[in-house]
């Protein structure tokens, strides 16, 4: 039972990291129809900026502010990078541009900081012991903050006028503008919010384990997959899909028979297989009803 709970808690931490990526992707996609996969690299870069200031100052606040500033800068850059693709309705090219931008950022990180792992916190990580399981402090912050933020975002998107504006911007930008909404500003704000959310994840990963140039990549790809198998317009589906893709591979690896010899390197392979099965069974999302193509 202890082992089961510990695996569950560890998976929840990873799952919540992926969830914040998926929610950021969902928000950005809601306003621009573009999947901004560079968020993984942005999260990594922001985490490295936190690391740089922390190494000099030792202050979480100063490092946090600096990292937040970088996240906002990347939000601004992302908006200007991808706005043209949104306006020209070249959304798949926007995806390619975002992918390339992400790879460029990761390469830059590799050049500046090199590829060896860097730790923000030296020594043993602070751990909270709940008796049946233990969780690191950064992990606990990730899970609690992540779930709270996701619930707030889901509530805003589904139940408030702001959410309705968000969802109608991609439908008809001109119509939304005629209602007095500055659609461009809303999009930029969402890009910034997405970068801040993922920057937060990047910093938490850095605090929880170690920084490497490509640490955000697998997480954003998993979030990207979760977005589609959950249903791109259904935040509930995105949440369920994220935890499905995070928990199932973890349990498969840890509870598989010894002769199968599944290890952590099998994880992305399982993620892909689960995605394939879900997309074939439910092409329009986990909670979709069968709809006709008209």
């Amino acid at each position: 039972m202890d082992f089961f709970l510990q695996i569950l808690v560890n998976s929840l931490v990873t799952g919540t990291q992926v969830l914040l990526f998926a929610v950021s992707l969902y928000l950005i996609r809601s306003v621009s129809k573009i999947e901004h996969v560079a968020l993984g690299a942005i999260a990594t870069f922001v985490a490295y900026m936190f690391y740089v200031v922390f190494m000099f100052s030792g202050s979480f606040v100063a490092s946090g502010i600096f990292a937040l500033g970088w996240a906002l800068i990347f939000g601004y850059i992302s908006f200007h990078l991808l706005e043209k693709f949104y306006k020209n309705n070249d959304t798949l090219l926007g995806l390619l541009a975002s992918l390339s931008f992400g790879i460029a950022l990761e390469s830059l990180i590799g050049i500046i900081f090199e590829t060896d792992a860097k730790s923000i916190l030296d020594g043993v990580l602070p751990v909270v012991d709940f008796g049946l399981f233990r969780i690191t402090t950064p992990g606990l912050i990730t899970v609690s903050m992540g779930l709270v933020l996701t619930m707030i975002i889901a509530f805003v998107v589904l139940r408030t006028p702001y959410g309705r504006v968000l969802r109608s911007i991609t439908e008809n930008n001109a119509l939304v503008s005629s209602l007095g909404v500055n659609a461009g500003f809303v999009r930029m704000a969402i890009y910034c919010m997405g970068c801040v959310l993922t920057g937060f994840v990047g910093v938490m990963i850095g605090l929880n384990s170690a920084l490497t140039p490509f640490m955000g990549f697998n997480l954003v790809i998993t979030g990207f997959i979760a977005l589609f198998i959950g249903g791109v317009t259904d935040i509930r589906g995105v949440v369920v899909a994220t935890y499905l893709l995070s928990l199932v591979p973890e349990f498969l690896i840890n509870y598989s028979p010894r002769y199968l010899d599944f290890s952590a390197s099998h994880k992305m392979f399982f993620v892909f297989v689960i995605a394939l099965v879900c997309v074939l069974a439910k092409p329009n999302g986990l909670f979709s009803k069968r709809i006709r193509k008209s």
Binding site: I291, R292, K293, S294
Partner: protein
């Protein structure tokens, strides 16, 4: 002499989402006829065409083309049976040239082999047909231009020529005069009449311009709220009081 039935619709029901768009529609169209379909906006006319051509699934009922049931056939298989259609937003590839658009129509109707352009006789034959078709609508000068440079009316004319070259027995034409000037409407009417009289096509047209339609068709079918309301000659339909209310208030 018994006329050949080209299109048979039996108790057609089409539902999209929670709404029944077409309800219990039955009709027949015979060889060589031009039949018009009219009705207020949102009464299911285009959905009806989409159901016949396979772009929307049918809930119950059947569609027969030349007495063959096509319910389970994909759109391209129905097209191969002799069904051709135009579209509300113009069925022409704007990123292909006028020549290429018409080439595709000829290739499919005459089942040309993949390497036809290597044979000079076939090349000359195809070129001649394309030139003739473009000359017919005054677009010969734009042969090598992308179709996207044409105006709305010119695109419609190109579409008519494409339909002419595509062959087939049955033609579904969806709102051909939408966005077209009065002058070009006369030309369009002439093209449609030519398709029927000179090429023996059976045509079903959806149209809102009643004057344009009544001068062309043999029979009119009126759709109201997804159902077939009335069917008759243009005179009979025009005299119907409820139709006058529906259209003119």
């Amino acid at each position: 002499m018994k006329r050949k039935k080209v299109l048979g619709i039996e108790n057609l029901h089409v539902q999209l989402g929670q709404r029944m768009i077409n309800e219990d529609i039955s009709l027949e169209v015979y060889e060589g006829e031009i039949v018009g379909i009219i009705g207020p906006n949102g009464c299911g006319k285009t959905t009806f065409f989409n159901a016949i051509s396979g772009f929307v699934p049918i809930d119950t009922g059947s569609v027969l083309i030349n007495d063959q049931e096509v319910n389970n056939l994909s759109p391209n298989r129905r097209a191969a049976l002799g069904l051709n259609r135009s579209f509300q937003n113009v069925g022409v590839f704007k990123e292909l040239t006028l020549e290429e658009n018409l080439m595709m129509a000829i290739e499919n109707s005459e089942k040309l082999p993949w390497n036809w352009m290597l044979k000079s006789t076939t090349r000359s034959y195809v070129n001649e047909k394309i030139d003739e078709a473009l000359e017919d609508v005054g677009l010969r000068g734009h042969k090598k231009s992308l179709a996207g440079v044409l105006s709305g009316g010119q695109l419609r004319l190109l579409e008519m020529q494409k339909l002419k070259l595509a062959g087939g027995d049955l033609l579904l034409i969806d709102e051909p005069t939408a966005g077209v000037s009065p002058v070009l409407r006369n030309e369009l009417a002439a093209q449609i009449k030519g398709l029927s009289k000179d090429h023996g096509r059976t045509i079903v047209i959806i149209e809102h311009d009643l004057k344009f339609l009544f001068s062309l068709v043999d029979r009119i079918i009126v759709f109201v709220d997804g159902k077939k309301y009335i069917e008759g000659t243009p005179k009979e339909v025009q005299a119907d009081k409820r139709l006058q209310e529906v259209y003119f208030g």
